[in-house]
Amino acid sequence: MSEPHVEELIAFYALGALTPEELRRVEAHLADCASCRALAAEAAEVVEALPFASTPVRPSASLKSTLFARVRADAAQRPVERPVAGALARMAGMFLPGLAVASLVAAIVLGGLVFALQGEVARLNASLEQQRQALALIASPGSQTHALQGTEVAPQAVGTLVADPQQVAALLVVSGLPQLAPDQVYQLWLIRGEQPTGVGVFTVDPNGIGQLLVQAPSPIADFEAVGLTVEPEGGSPLPTGDLVLIGTL
């Protein structure tokens, strides 16, 4: 069967009914094609109305009690929220206990991240949100840390990927990476067999530190390795530039 044009797939993309291979193909195409992005946005607008078509059903009382018992137990273990003014102290305070059970590499990298953020209070709110998500991952009982090593292109670079193998979310924290030209980005790849899947792009700060929150297309356990390459702005469908960090999962 010949491959259909990507335009044919957009309705199914919006409906969330593509195979993983088709999904990758469409996403790679959408990154480059503004007219298909517009079509996809229009389709998504309609699809958003569909869940409301179902008839509401009252949940059982035990559903709510089970859920909120779990939530309250979790809340009791969380630090109390304080105003943004205390955010740096909070970030440091929140990260360190979690990292005692994670890895020393992550502690050093994230410690560096906190240091690098000092004096950038304006950026703090946005960063803080990312940190909260990062923390959720780090604090998750199922999370594991994986070390990434710099290649000969960037021997001083290190990275840590924090992920629960059963989940799709992951956090990458890197340090020691070279600054890139303005039209370049670092792109993270999750690799299964010979097949790399691009899962996000980012740049590093002047200290060579960066982080990326990843939503993988399937649970992290599906992948065997992880790599970071230098790519043109916006990222590439497949790796094209220098490999700077590599690790196994």
């Binding site: 259909p4 957009i10 909120f68 979790d74």
Partner: protein
Amino acid sequence: MSDIQPRDEELVLRVGGGDSRALEMLYERYASALLGLAMKVLGDRASAEEVVQDTFWRVWRYASAFRAQRGSFANWLFGIARNLAIDELRRRRIRPQLVQAEGSPLGGVEGPTDLAEEAWLRERRERILRALERLPEAQRRVLELAYFQGLTRQEIAESTGEPLGTVHTRARLGLNKLRELLRSQHVQETG
């Protein structure tokens, strides 16, 4: 939604800060609609309740991942629940098991409807149901199989016995027509 009730976006921000009471308010607002969606997809109540519980747990853990500029909280929430339900459905297709089906994808699921449903949720439901009713049956069926059953286009072609090209056309025309219907309703209601 009543003006005196906190907005979803405010509540989800509070949930991100660890406020379980805010999560409870979101639960009261959406749990029935989410269970309705999960039952429509899965057909059985026990699995559907698990999806609802998992959805709110994820909201609790990942509230700070929500970005208001990318769409409403309701879309985010229903998106999580739909994905969890479809994942479960696909696992079942790989490892079939006996499930007591209580509904069909096309007929919806009957449930107790004496709910103090939020007025705006009811309006949204009535609007999409009116639009779906006016859609040609074959187009509606393709959209429902894809969205509520998570069938790929190839699977839809196999299950309906139609050529793939016809399935593509029906999905595209169905979404276009649905958009027109929803927009014209909106114009009638506001104009």
